[in-house]
């Protein structure tokens, strides 16, 4: 299995005034292509920070974060932003759709940053919406969608530029059991059928059970707990 993500001896220190918090303490991790990885752990254990490092929206204090063979910890902020557009799809717990844009426009947002013709952009948006089963809701504003639908639009937005790596920070955290099941099935499908790699942070053991590998974090240290589901 090709390594999509390699985390090597990563430390992350947050400073709040005189206080210094060691959020990550020498984390090593490899995530393979097509893998569906769940990161579990108590609040403050550092799992979201680790996810943010993989997304390039935060940078390590020391160590290397290599994604698709490129050491992104060396990138500056604008290089990271440009890199994220093509390589990362990020799904938040709170959906984080832009409230004033329709479902279609939200999905289109990352594609506006890529120089692709309008027709192809439209096709990619529609493909993504069809993948999540919401093509008929494309003209709806987020406020006109249910929580589950909002999260599926968020997944479509993450999928639209066709990034190989998808990251989810509690993607089912705000959903009821039925919608959470739908979203997890969709994520599983993306990994199996489209070969996407998915790293998910979750508190929910039921959500973690859908993953192919589960890791536990405690006090900034990573512990392998299961590699089971296929």
């Amino acid at each position: 299995m090709n390594a999509v993500v390699q985390i090597e001896s990563v430390h992350k220190i947050h400073r709040r005034g005189p206080e210094q918090i060691d959020v990550l303490q020498g984390v090593d991790l490899t995530v393979g292509s097509g893998e569906f990885l769940a990161l579990m752990g108590p609040s403050g254990s550092g799992k979201t920070t680790l996810l943010n490092l993989m997304a390039g929206i935060d940078s390590p204090t020391s160590g290397r974060v290599v994604v698709h063979g490129r050491d992104i910890s060396q990138f500056n902020e604008d290089q990271l932003a440009a890199w994220r557009t093509r390589n990362i799809g990020y799904i938040f717990q709170a959906y984080n759709l832009v409230p004033v844009l329709t479902a279609y426009e939200n999905v289109e947002l990352p594609l506006l940053l890529l120089r692709i013709p309008t027709r192809r952009r439209h096709e990619q948006v529609m493909n993504a919406l069809e993948t999540v089963g919401l093509a008929d809701r494309r003209r709806h504003l987020p406020s006109q969608l249910s929580g589950g639908q909002e999260q599926r639009v968020a997944i479509a937005r993450a999928l639209a530029p066709d990034p190989p790596l998808l990251l989810g920070d509690e993607p089912t955290g705000n959903l009821d059991r039925e919608n959470a099941g739908l979203v997890l099935d969709l994520i599983g499908l993306l990994c199996r059928e489209l070969g996407k790699t998915f790293v998910m942070v979750t508190h929910d053991p039921k959500a973690a059970a859908a993953a192919t590998r589960v890791l536990h974090m405690e006090k900034g240290v990573l512990r392998e707990s299961r590699e089971a589901h296929t």
Binding site: A55, E77, V100
Partner: protein, 381 residues
């Protein structure tokens, strides 16, 4: 174009704050256009009405020129002074000697001489009809348009003691002030207003425009011992003095007009700052999906620009309706002018509001463009 669409969607779907910002800009730009139009209208009237070789002789003791009273007998004395080429007398009748916005000014002139002193254009037959008939008048095109008068109409001005005249022609004039005036025969006006033998002022054309100062001194010296001593000035100086009470006010309001543009900066800067504060999460999301700092900066500045341009256009249109389309006129001491919101002024107002809006938006936009995504998301949570 795609960014403009995004910006417009963002503004239109949460319209209250941007609408208030646009209205603030519109108010400021309409104020700016209005006061600058008045200032420029006044300057244009002064420039077009003053001729370099004409002196104005009026009552030494009357600070309000239309109230000046001089005897008709001064004419022969004036004609004898060295350097004087021609003389004509004029009697002003206006409804009051103050600044009003609806003032009727009637000038009693000598038909035989008026065209030697004033550049007026009207059909020769109309002028002949005016010159050959006591009680006839020719009216400036702005006055005719303002009151809806036409040739052949007999008009009675109640505010001027029932002064009655028949309109024989409508003229255009190089001097802007004259286009708001009514010209009647001098002697007819003297009799109709019970002022026989009295004029308001004399226009004196000098042989050598370089010598106006010397001729003016000579006139005032010559008439100093008469029953009605005079003060003589070049036409521009006379007009400046006549409108000084208004011009000081206009200059001050023009400053206020430029100050009003400061409101553009405050309105847009404040709106954008508030908008950014409320949209920290949205901007963090944009950065998460790949927006770089220059792109975020551009989006925010585009929002400021839209506020500036939309408000500027609305304000300029409002000023145009208020000032130009309504044929608004100002009159001071009998000299009228019509401020005009010209296309150049509209462009100036629009350009300045757009520039100020972008400048005001730059600091909040720059700050938000540098937002750290992870920190912003934590903050928003």
């Amino acid at each position: 174009m795609k960014w403009l669409r995004y910006t417009l969607h963002a503004m239109l779907r949460a319209p209250i704050r941007p609408a208030l910002a646009v209205l603030a800009v519109a108010l400021a730009v309409s104020l700016f256009c209005a006061v600058v139009a008045v200032d420029r209208g006044l300057q244009r009237m002064l420039t077009t009405s003053a001729r370099p070789d004409v002196l104005v002789v009026f009552d030494r003791f009357q600070s309000c020129p239309p109230l000046s009273k001089l005897p008709a007998a001064h004419r022969s004395a004036l004609e004898k002074i060295d350097g004087v080429r021609d003389v004509t007398a004029e009697l002003f009748v206006i409804s009051s000697c103050s600044r009003v916005t609806d003032l009727v000014a009637v000038h009693g002139v000598e038909p035989a001489k008026i065209r030697a002193f004033r550049e007026i254009e009207l059909p020769e037959a109309d002028f002949e009809a005016f010159a050959g008939e006591r009680g006839a008048a020719i009216v400036g095109k702005r006055a005719a348009a303002r009151y809806g008068w036409s040739v052949g109409e007999t008009v009675s001005l109640e505010r001027l003691g029932g002064l009655t005249f028949t309109i024989r022609g409508i003229f255009e004039a190089k001097a802007e002030s004259l286009e708001s005036a009514i010209l009647v025969d001098l002697e007819y006006l003297q009799l109709a207003t019970n002022q026989p033998g009295t004029v308001t002022l004399y226009h004196v054309r000098v042989a050598n425009p370089e010598a106006t100062g010397a001729v003016a001194d000579a006139i005032d010296r010559q008439l100093a011992g008469s029953t009605s001593p005079t003060r003589t000035a070049g036409e521009r100086a006379f007009l400046d003095a006549a409108v000084s009470s208004l011009s000081g006010l206009v200059e001050f309001t023009a400053l206020l007009g430029y100050g009003a543009l400061g409101l553009v900066a405050l309105g847009v800067g404040n709106s954008l700052s508030m908008s950014i504060r409320d949209r920290t999460r949205e901007i963090a999301i944009l950065k998460t999906v790949g927006f770089r700092r220059p792109q975020v900066l551009r989006l925010m500045l585009l929002e400021a620009l839209v506020c500036g341009v939309a408000g500027g256009a609305l304000g300029a249109a409002a000023a145009w309706v208020l000032i130009t389309a309504s044929r608004f006129e100002l009159s001071v001491e009998g000299f009228s002018f019509a401020p005009s919101v010209s296309p150049a002024l509209v462009l100036e107002g629009l350009g300045l509001s757009a520039l100020l809006a972008v400048a005001a938006g730059f600091f909040p936009a720059f700050r938000v463009a540098r937002l750290k995504v992870a920190a912003a998301l934590r903050e928003a949570d």
